[in-house]
Symmetry: C2
Subunit: 635 residues, 2 copies
């Protein structure tokens, strides 16, 4: 079977490449902001390949094309690429070349690589440059591959932005800017350029609706010692936004003008004159030249914006030198991750309401099991029920991601998505995994529970129990300040590793406040790939705790509880931190085999369940409450 | 009280500094090889400060002087520096500046810093250069501060070296060199320069006697594709060594000639012509210039040797460029750490004999307790007994470090050293900590046990038990290939951290084969300071497992068992590793409070004790065996 659509699109792209003298075109999954999820406008890789997964890189040559994606999507990509002539490259599998290795092998000497400079970040381009240097490859970054070809391309999203009041944000933009400028001074930077949407939303206390499930507005930002500029589409700027911007001295500029704006030498002349090294320590003062260092994150800023500010600064007569700029994770990333007291108060309340909705859903399922009507449900209708319960919460804005409702073998796929007319029917046996969350004015939630719908096998109970032990061991951890997620990860994995089982993903991720459901810089993982943030766990940080077992073709288990990092004790031996749960949803006692529960974790489980009942019972009706009491009874 | 000796020595040094135009002189604790323990010849820092600890940095200015040391030595340094006018800087304490911060603060603009270029490594010098750049400090590295002042300085040690036969080393030098050259080729390096003594001994299957407790010979090494050179003092070269060197094509050159030798341009011309990039991949072939890249470890190679080879290579007309050389941990470091089958067989046997000696010592102590004669012993006589039992082992060569025998509050000092006429008498109560090890032809050992000499407090038993739980949890770990010591460290610390107690040191270190009792690159720690090696745990690596509790002024507990990394299982989820104990010495049942023992660790303990009995009983006499059976009875 030949996929005419895709072959036709690739043909057009190849003619375009030919006319531009481009040998290979690299098309990542990215917008101009290095977002995890991209708006339809940016789904160029999907358009040219037909592969619809959330992660993948397409490379198109004149005679061949390849698509790289990760383990979550091997099966799906295999199906979707059929008949397109595009080869699938399974990332991280033995013997499979990376994109840059593949290009290093295929590119002709003195060849030309094309990509959209707005969609590749500085680090990615530098890595490619390094890997392809020996072939003296020329990079052409000014073309959008879809332009002139993708005629029915969706418009750039432009939903009205809104202001997040201080009763939700807990800190004014003025205070946030003052903290940022202090960090800039300490680092010796006069200019700060930001393109990460969640960082910009947090900094300016704004939210938007341009990315599904993530309430952000497409924008860029520039901060100097006396100036703060937000680049945002006019169509998104309401009267309220304009008034708010005026009130805090925030300059609004058109989204499209960012490159031209950054090319203006006046910015750098003014920033250099205004200074920024007064308190900057000695590092910045090692010569007498006028300084204009830019603070940016090479892992998120596009090469297009880097080119723009480099051009502008050079035009200002300020020389760029190696290791001159402050190229690292933005301080905003760290500010944002450690939630303030107002945010925490809101988050705790949101999680209570969200947990109650999940408990109601579990009760609803339980009734179906009890009444023998499980067969009347599908994965999709179960997800619908869950979503409708969440929608009722007073400050609900959106889901924080598409609800995963996966029955039986489907749950072994970590990112399974049930479609209305293509999903499994539930049956009164085995397990259903539901992973879901919401966006509220009071924060962003995420939770996973796996439950029995009837009889289950010994293996299922054993694996569920070992997963629970890992989940509870991490929840119960006490650790010294200075630990990262790498230090504690093994607490969640150890029960499974001891039986030679692993889950092929991280144990936990950070979560935003009415922002991304995946947020850095903290992460709970046992190893970090290059460039992945590894941050010290700080009080006020939110992390997920989600070990699991995934047996291909059989079943999947995940238990995800969200934790807040809190102070535990301080003494001569140091400052100890621990976790406090935000999620209050019972684990399924029907899936727990006490034989695999250590006495210590039994205690942790019973205390957690007692807390679940105390927190959630007041939010339930009488029969739901009775059910919750049974579910949370001491084991 | 004024310390005339030290004041007099510092006065002489200051006059020397004045005549040389040096503002500050930096005197680390180091030899020319970045060794952990240095021969008396190199104890210049001790000579000028009076501080006798194994780690410290002295900085002398015209009007002031400071000494930096770590937590193990705060009390001792405070005493020893009294009356010297030298200020003590407690490393890692809040508000205490580092050496470079202190220098950055004190050095005059355009000032001069002196240090012996043979005793500071490339990384240290670069860091200093970076930190002091803003003051445009000049570095003077050609003077040994002690020269002309330290008149009764001990001679450079020069004990005869000896060949370690293949029945011990398990691999010929030829095979080791071939492995090294393959790594050089892969990395694109033509020249390899080595100054770490243990790496050199391992590579050339030699041992020496120049450093107490560490059987190494002072030496440097140079390896190219067709040449291997060892720089060693003539006085150390026996007939046997010379014959051996001839037989394997090893060129011997005088130790003192290394700098002059490395300055010879011919080395680099020849190496560049001979090549070494044939298989080197593309990275090395990115231009047409003649290549002569040097592989060296900037964390151990002295700036003196770096200057020498840089000068020589430049004289050969080969331009040095940034990021040109291969500056990283030597591959030898990794080869050496993963012991081969011959080494492992020997090590296992050596640990069995060594463990039996420790068991006999414990039995001897037990008899004293039983007979009520504990009072007749001191820390020192107990250590003497332990050492004499170890000396009886057939291939014993030396202790692997001075035996630590610490009673009561003395055990709270991790590196306490009892002196014959200045040590505590033992009493029939509380705990004695003994940490000791030996150098054998069959390997290097290390072990710590803490035992009750009579009644102990509840706190002592609780802390001992929590330490034991941590020790056993780590021993029982299963982990995926790719984990470093950072991943597993929390298994040992968690029981203590849960009660807000920490030990201020790593959990475990690597151990050499008839080499250093502390050997990298693997380490079990929860955090790593900058430049500290963090290596993946590989099968055949040896690590210590030594959690502890140290209550200042009261008592100290440490339980140290040595572990071998072994394969556990391989399946679709990955390659799992685990540990197998090498040390077979019982824990003290009198110190274990079952109330704090988790059922899981109780099982691990009972299995371990059963194994101790099985391994050691055949090596004991009847009454010792009876005692061991009691000590290892299931709890």
């Amino acid at each position: 079977m030949v996929n005419r659509n895709i072959i036709d699109r690739l043909g057009k792209l190849r003619r375009k490449m030919e006319s531009l003298g481009i040998d290979y075109f690299l098309i990542p999954t990215a917008d101009y902001h290095n977002s995890e999820y991209v708006a339809p406008y940016f789904q160029t890789r999907h358009y040219f390949s037909g592969f619809s997964g959330s992660n993948g890189t397409l490379v198109v040559g004149m005679e061949e094309a390849g698509l790289w994606t990760d383990g979550r999507y091997f099966i799906q990509a295999g199906k979707e690429l059929e008949g397109t002539g595009i080869d699938l490259y399974r990332e991280m599998e033995e013997g499979v070349p990376t994109v840059s290795e593949w290009l290093a092998d295929r590119m002709p000497q003195n060849g030309t690589l094309g990509f959209d400079g707005g969609c590749l970040n500085v680090r990615q381009v530098r890595n490619l440059r390094k890997k392809l240097a020996f072939k003296k490859v020329r990079f052409v970054s000014q073309y959008d591959p879809a332009e002139g070809i993708w005629t029915d391309r969706p418009a750039l999203p432009a939903h009205p932005a809104f202001v997040l009041g201080e009763e939700y944000s807990g800190e004014s933009t003025g205070s946030k800017l003052a903290r940022l400028r202090k960090k800039m001074l300490q680092a010796g930077a006069q200019v700060y350029v930001e393109s990460k949407l969640d960082n910009l939303m947090w900094l300016f206390n704004l939210r938007g609706g341009d990315v599904e499930c993530t309430p952000v507005a497409l924008s860029f930002g520039l901060v100097t010692m006396d100036r703060q500029v937000l680049f945002i589409q006019d169509r998104e700027v309401t009267e309220k936004i304009r008034a708010y911007a005026d009130s805090i001295g925030l300059e609004l500029q058109p989204y499209e003008s960012v490159s031209a704006f950054l090319e203006d030498p006046e910015i750098y002349r003014r920033a250099a004159a205004r200074g920024g090294t007064a308190d900057a320590g000695k590092a910045a003062a090692d010569d007498d030249q006028e300084d204009c260092r830019v603070f940016f994150d090479p892992g998120s800023l596009s090469i297009r914006l880097w080119n723009a500010f480099t051009k502008g600064r050079e035009a200002a007569g300020i020389k760029s030198r190696t290791h001159y700029d402050l190229e690292k994770r933005s301080p905003v990333e760290d500010f944002k991750a450690a939630k303030n007291e107002t945010e925490l108060k809101n988050i705790r309340a949101a999680y209570r309401d969200d947990s109650a909705a999940v408990c109601r859903f579990l009760y609803w399922l339980h009734k179906h099991v009890e009444n023998g009507t499980v067969d009347s449900l599908t994965e999709y209708t179960a997800a619908e029920k869950m979503d409708s319960l969440r929608t009722e919460i007073r400050d609900f804005i959106d889901l924080s991601f598409g609800t995963i409702s996966a029955y039986g073998p489907n749950a072994a796929m970590m990112h399974y998505s049930a479609k209305k007319d293509d999903c499994a029917k539930l049956r009164p046996e085995g397990m259903l995994l539901v992973d879901c969350g919401g966006q509220y004015l009071r924060g962003t939630t995420d939770v996973t529970r796996t439950m029995a719908l009837g009889p289950v096998t010994e293996d299922m109970r054993r694996h569920y129990t070992l997963t629970a032990v890992g989940n509870l061991q991490l929840l119960d951890a006490v650790f010294l300040y200075g630990c990262t997620g790498r230090n504690v990860d093994i607490l969640a994995r150890q029960p499974l590793w001891s039986t030679f089982v692993d889950y092929k993903c991280g144990t936990g991720h950070g979560i935003g406040y009415l922002l991304g459901v995946h947020e850095g810089p903290q992460n709970i993982r046992w190893r970090f790939s290059e460039g992945m943030a590894e941050a010290v766990l700080e009080p006020g940080m939110i992390v997920s705790d989600e070990p699991g077992v995934y047996i291909e073709g059989e079943y999947g288990i995940r238990i995800e509880t969200i934790l807040e990092v809190v102070e535990a004790a301080k003494n001569g031996d140091g400052r100890f931190l621990c976790f406090s749960p935000l999620t209050f949803v019972p684990l399924d006692p029907a899936l727990i085999d006490p034989a695999f529960l250590t006495p210590q974790t039994r205690g942790v489980l019973n205390r957690y369940h007692a807390r679940v009942y105390a927190e959630i019972a007041p939010l339930l009706n009488e029969e739901e409450r009775r059910w919750l009491r049974e579910q949370t009874a001491a084991i």
